[in-house]
C-alpha cells in the first residue's frame, strides 16, 4: 500500500513550515515508520539544514525530474534514524523548474517506498504552493497566533477548499502561554474558531528551536523540549493515536473541541 502524502503549508513565510516538516518527519521516523521529506521550495531550500543533512546532498529533485539520476540516488538517508529520507530542493534553479505533474509523479513515486511523504511547501500561494499541495492527501497549515499569519492561513485554507482538495489540519506554532494567559496574544481557541479547521498541533515558543536549528538537530530529538514533545505528539496523532492537547490555558476548551472523538 502506498504511503500517505502530506503537505506542510502556510501562505506566510517564516511561521515554521520547514521546522514543522523536519520535526514531524523525524518524529515519525522515531516512531519507526518510514518517511520521505520532500523540500518543494525550489531555489530557497532549507529543509536540508534544518535536518542537518546539507553536507550529504549529491542530487536534488530537479536533477531527478530532468532524468539526471535515479529516484533513490536523489534521496539523502538520515543516519540517526534510517527510516528517514530527504529529497532536497534545487538551490540554484527557478521556482518553476518542477511542474505540477512532475511533483505529483515524484510524490507518488516516494509514496511507493515509504509510509509517509511530507512535502515542505514554499511560502506564497503561487506555483510552488500549488505544486506542493497538488499531490497531498492532507495539508497541515502552519500559523502563528498573530493577525498576519492567521489571515494568510485562511487564504491557503480557502484556496485548498476551492479546489475541492484534501482535508486540512491546523498547527499553531510559537504560542507564548504566558502572553496568552495575560490576554496579550490570540489564544489557540480564538485561532481555531476563526479558521474553522481541526487542530493537529499546538507548539509553544521554545528557545531550543533556535539551538536545534544551529546544530541541525531538530528539537524533536530533545526529550526536555516542550516544542519537541509537541511535534512528536503531531507525529503520534498522524499515526492515529489519541493524544490530548496539553493544556496551555483552559482545559475546558480542548475538551469541548476534542472530547467527542
Amino acid at each position: 500500500m502506498a504511503g500517505k502524502i502530506i503537505t506542510i503549508s502556510s501562505g506566510k513565510g517564516g511561521v515554521g513550515k520547514t521546522t514543522a516538516t523536519a520535526n514531524i518527519g523525524l518524529g515519525l521516523a522515531m516512531l519507526g515508520v518510514r518517511v520521505i521529506c520532500i523540500d518543494a521550495d525550489i531555489g530557497l531550500r532549507n529543509l536540508d539544514v534544518m535536518l542537518g543533512l546539507e553536507n550529504r546532498i549529491v542530487y536534488d529533485i530537479v536533477n531527478y525530474v530532468e532524468g539526471r539520476c535515479r529516484f533513490r540516488q536523489a534521496l539523502v538517508r538520515d543516519k540517526r534514524f534510517p527510516e528517514l529520507f530527504m529529497l532536497p530542493a534545487a538551490q540554484t534553479r527557478a521556482k518553476d523548474a518542477v511542474t505540477i505533474e512532475q511533483m505529483i509523479n515524484v510524490a507518488n513515486e516516494a509514496a511507493q517506498m515509504v509510509d509517509y511523504v511530507l512535502i515542505d511547501s514554499p511560502a506564497g500561494i503561487e506555483h510552488g504552493f500549488r505544486c506542493a499541495s497538488a499531490p497531498a492527501e492532507m495539508v497541515l497549515v502552519v500559523t502563528n497566533p498573530e493577525i498576519a499569519s492567521v489571515r494568510d492561513a485562511d487564504r491557503v485554507i480557502g484556496l485548498l477548499e476551492a479546489e475541492g482538495g484534501s482535508p486540512t489540519r491546523l498547527i499553531i506554532n510559537r504560542i507564548k502561554p504566558e502572553l496568552v494567559q495575560r490576554k496579550e496574544m490570540l489564544a489557540p481557541e480564538d485561532v481555531v474558531d476563526m479558521l474553522s479547521v481541526d487542530l493537529i498541533g499546538l507548539i509553544p515558543e521554545d528557545p531550543e528551536i533556535l539551538a536545534a536549528g544551529n546544530r541541525g538537530q531538530p528539537v524533536v530529538l530533545n526529550n526536555g523540549s516542550s516544542a519537541g514533545q509537541a511535534f512528536l505528539d503531531i507525529a503520534r496523532r498522524l499515526q492515529g493515536e489519541d493524544i490530548p492537547f496539553a493544556p496551555l490555558k483552559s482545559q475546558s476548551f480542548f475538551r469541548r473541541l476534542f472530547g467527542s472523538r
Binding site: E146, V150, R151, D154, L186
Partner: protein
C-alpha cells in the same frame, strides 16, 4: 456587575483587539470585498430601500457574519414607521 469586572472590562486586551481586527479582515477577505466597497454597497442598499420604504439611513447596518467558514452579508434595516396592522 461588581467592581472587579468593571475594572477588567475597562482595558481592551491586546488579544481582544487582535481577534476583533482579524475577524473583520477575514470576513472581507473571504467575501472578496474591501471595507470601502462595503460602504458603497450599503449606500446603494439604502438608496434602493428608500424608494419603497421609509427608513433612517443612520440606523442601517450592513455587516458580515461568519459561521463555519460560511460568510453571509446581513443587512439590518429598521423601518421608521411601524405599520398599523390591517385587520
Amino acid at each position: 456587575m461588581n467592581l472587579f469586572n468593571l475594572f477588567k472590562r475597562r482595558k481592551n486586551s491586546g488579544k481582544d483587539i487582535a481577534a476583533q481586527r482579524l475577524r473583520l479582515v477575514l470576513a472581507h477577505d473571504r467575501a472578496n470585498i474591501s471595507p470601502g466597497m462595503l460602504a458603497l454597497l450599503k449606500d446603494e442598499i439604502i438608496a434602493v430601500i428608500s424608494k419603497h420604504l421609509e427608513i433612517d439611513p443612520t440606523k442601517v447596518e450592513v455587516n458580515f457574519t461568519e459561521d463555519d467558514r460560511e460568510t453571509r452579508l446581513v443587512a439590518d434595516i429598521p423601518l421608521t414607521t411601524s405599520r398599523k396592522r390591517q385587520s
